[in-house]
Symmetry: C2
Subunit: 463 residues, 2 copies
């Protein structure tokens, strides 16, 4: 198998889609259906989260700007015996020419609010569904999870250690970027460090200790090479490990920045280690904890006053173990100027183009969001901004990663404390529909159920 078979190349993103996007596109082309459609990407409901942190827009805009069907892609599609030559010619010239309205990366948001809205000829807007859902669902999900971990750590630095058990190579890459937006301090992921300019950190593995005949030899060699490093003390007897670190500093004069505890009873060991270090005059050697941590465990440790200065968090954050996916949807809300929706009670959606307004109290705290129609004037801060027009990013679509991080921090500080807390917010954040949107919803439903709409057309088949 050639090396290229394992990884998606940047020129292959057009094939990162469900087959049905292409069969529907061919049908639209054949039926001459090229009118403007509006699709909303939103989350239906939250699980174990009080808010979400919008993330993934930059990847989406890059995808839309560069979306092309290469000769390789066209050759593959031709081989499927589903697509006609004139449609493949259409694909060869395909460009995304639509517009995108989106929440800024780092904006907290809530169910039913569009995190992005695509306005484009229907075939184009439909085709990109799979990619947009894939990247927004994951990046927003992981940023939202990380935001809770950062909150739990109460200002102590959190390092991302998750890449080894995350789902494939793209997840840890995109997560490291999302983590940065959410306030994570650093990542162990070198590729992410390289691609996104993130701070990379790391310590040492148990194997390094075990490969040496004596734990003290391993400590000494590492601290000589990396002054101020973090030493992993729990390979054999944890407190003996701590005493060896003391010896290294006091007898050998080496500089050690921190010890790492990765197993065992963190509550007891951290306290005992702190005591040993303090009694030896090493109050400036910090304690770094890792191993099966998540926001709940971190909160519990800190609530008990366990002396931990920094955390390494991996698998549970990186796989969003308590809620490994968001219930995202990408739904047609208008076509050819007419609002559209699905009638199902469970899976309904809000028809037409929309805007989200955030209302604040006098202190600046967010108190309520209103989902409104796009063309009404409403009080509050409008959250959706035009990030792409006619296939080209606007200035708002070119915000930097640092802007997103700063924006997230600002916005999170202006959420009510019950929302930022780990426990379920009671009451949840209120999101209501504007009168105009409610009227449009009622009208559209009425039209589909009782009027000339498709739900009421004659059914000729035998009943």
């Amino acid at each position: 198998m050639p090396a290229s078979a394992s990884w998606m190349r940047p020129d292959q993103t057009a094939l990162f889609t469900d087959l049905y996007q292409l069969t529907m596109l061919q049908a639209y082309v054949r039926e001459g259906m090229h009118e403007e459609a509006v699709f909303d990407l939103f989350v239906r409901r939250l699980k174990h989260r009080n808010y979400l942190l919008a993330c993934g827009l930059d990847t989406v805009l890059e995808f839309l700007e560069t979306l092309r069907f290469s000769d390789e892609a066209l050759g593959y599609l031709a081989s499927l015996d589903l697509f006609r030559p004139d449609f493949l010619d259409f694909l060869a010239d395909f460009r995304f020419t639509g517009s995108v309205y989106a929440l800024r990366e780092g904006t907290p948001f809530f169910p039913d609010e569009p995190v992005l809205q695509v306005v484009a000829p229907i075939g184009q807007a439909q085709l990109v569904e799979t990619f947009l859902l894939n990247q927004i669902t994951f990046q927003t999900g992981i940023a939202s999870k990380a935001s809770r971990v950062v909150h739990a750590a109460q200002g102590r630095p959190v390092a991302d250690f998750g890449m080894r058990r995350m789902h494939g190579v793209d997840a840890p890459l995109k997560a490291a970027r999302a983590y940065y937006i959410a306030g994570i301090a650093s990542t162990s992921n070198l590729l992410a460090g390289h691609l996104y300019g993130l701070k990379v950190t790391g310590t040492m593995a148990h194997s390094y200790i075990e490969a040496h005949d004596h734990e003290a030899d391993a400590f000494r060699a590492f601290a000589e090479l990396y002054p101020g490093t973090t030493l992993l003390v729990d390979t054999y007897d944890t407190l003996d490990g701590v005493r060896r670190v003391v010896d290294l500093v006091r007898t050998h004069g080496l500089r050690v920045g921190a010890i790492r505890l990765d197993s065992g009873d963190l509550d007891t060991l951290a306290r005992q280690a702190r005591q040993i270090l303090d009694e030896a005059g090493l109050a400036d050697v910090r304690i770094f904890a890792s191993g099966s941590l998540d926001e709940h465990r971190i909160a519990r440790l800190l609530a008990q006053g366990i002396p931990i200065d920094a955390f390494g968090v991996g698998t549970r954050m990186g796989t969003m173990a308590d809620a490994p996916y968001l219930d995202t949807a990408y739904k047609l809300s208008a076509y050819a100027g007419t609002p559209r929706m699905k009638l199902s009670a469970q899976k309904s959606n809000l028809p037409g183009r929309k805007q989200v307004y955030r209302l604040r109290d006098a202190s600046g705290l967010a108190v309520q969001d209103v989902i409104a129609t796009a063309d009404e004037a409403h009080e509050g801060e409008p959250l959706l901004e035009c990030v792409m027009r006619d296939g080209v990013r606007t200035e708002a679509g070119r915000r930097s990663l640092d802007e997103a991080r700063a924006h997230a921090q600002d916005e999170l500080q202006r959420l009510p404390e019950r929302l930022r807390a780990l426990d379920p917010a009671d009451p949840p954040y209120p999101v209501v529909l504007s009168e105009a949107l409610q009227a449009r919803l009622d009208q559209t439903r009425h039209r589909l159920e009782n009027g000339a709409g498709p739900a009421n057309e004659a059914v000729n088949a035998p009943r």
Copy 2:
């Protein structure tokens, strides 16, 4: 941000690693520690699984064969102010020259059994940890999950619909391949279809129906373009949708292969839809179900005799929602000819090179596995085979995807039924240590705890 910033290029895999792998490697080089190490990749315990299905070896071997530090990677590492010029020169010439022993892809296995064992100079074997864990953890996890879904479907085809809510772009790609090994029938993922030669299938989205003025128009246009297609009937009133399909076939003479139900009460709707189709003489139109399915829901539907002929399974399988990661470990088990281990009760490991033997009863059913030392003769079928020698794949390291799928099917049929069932196996599959391995374990532990080993060295720091 340049387009290349979003995706890992094949020549960047060397940077897909935790920083500490590189800092440890530099330390090993500096200390002149180049002796042979043995690392085991294994799973500590299972959650919601009775067995695992080995998967990911092909990706790992491709990685090891092609692992190089490009000028770009070296430039990035140099910028970190952690690595010395002579070490960067060492990296420029770096090649993986070790050997790998592994379970064939598609082999069912159990906790503590090495799914692969790397034998290489310690720095090399250490460096590749992150990548190996990342790919084996995910690919094995997702193959194992899918194997349960296939079992639950009792021979009915299962289509992969998961890419939209999975974690990034690599996960759905690798999953589609793993699914094929586990017995999934097809994928909606075009890129996976292209790269791995998998069968691609798909239907239509609700938006396609909604964009038309009448549901019947959408059905007709799609069935004309794709004779024998599957039509999604639940956008408005599901049973009216089914009647429109009947009308399409009987009045318009169009060919329809199946209807798809994606929401609502599948139990009732599938029965009613079947009745409408049968009464109209359309017994050959199949019923395809999708929407929040997993192995448990499928098993329940079929146990109740609900007439469903095929399943589309997405998010819950694709995110392994009930167990989103495996508790994998990659542990040093020997260095310079001496067995090594971590003493921690929770996170111990088996020292030295090993072989796994599978014992069978007269009918061929697997009854017990024995983890043995690599150099003893033991009854049973040895499961670890040499797949790479001196950095080059052996013939056993070049098995095809079809071989892996056939192997998985054979091996799963030879597992006791209680293991293949969805409920926890009682008793779990027995895995024991050979006498020789038990003796080595005891000796190593004794040496570390009581002998001249590192755990017992003098601690000079004040107690």
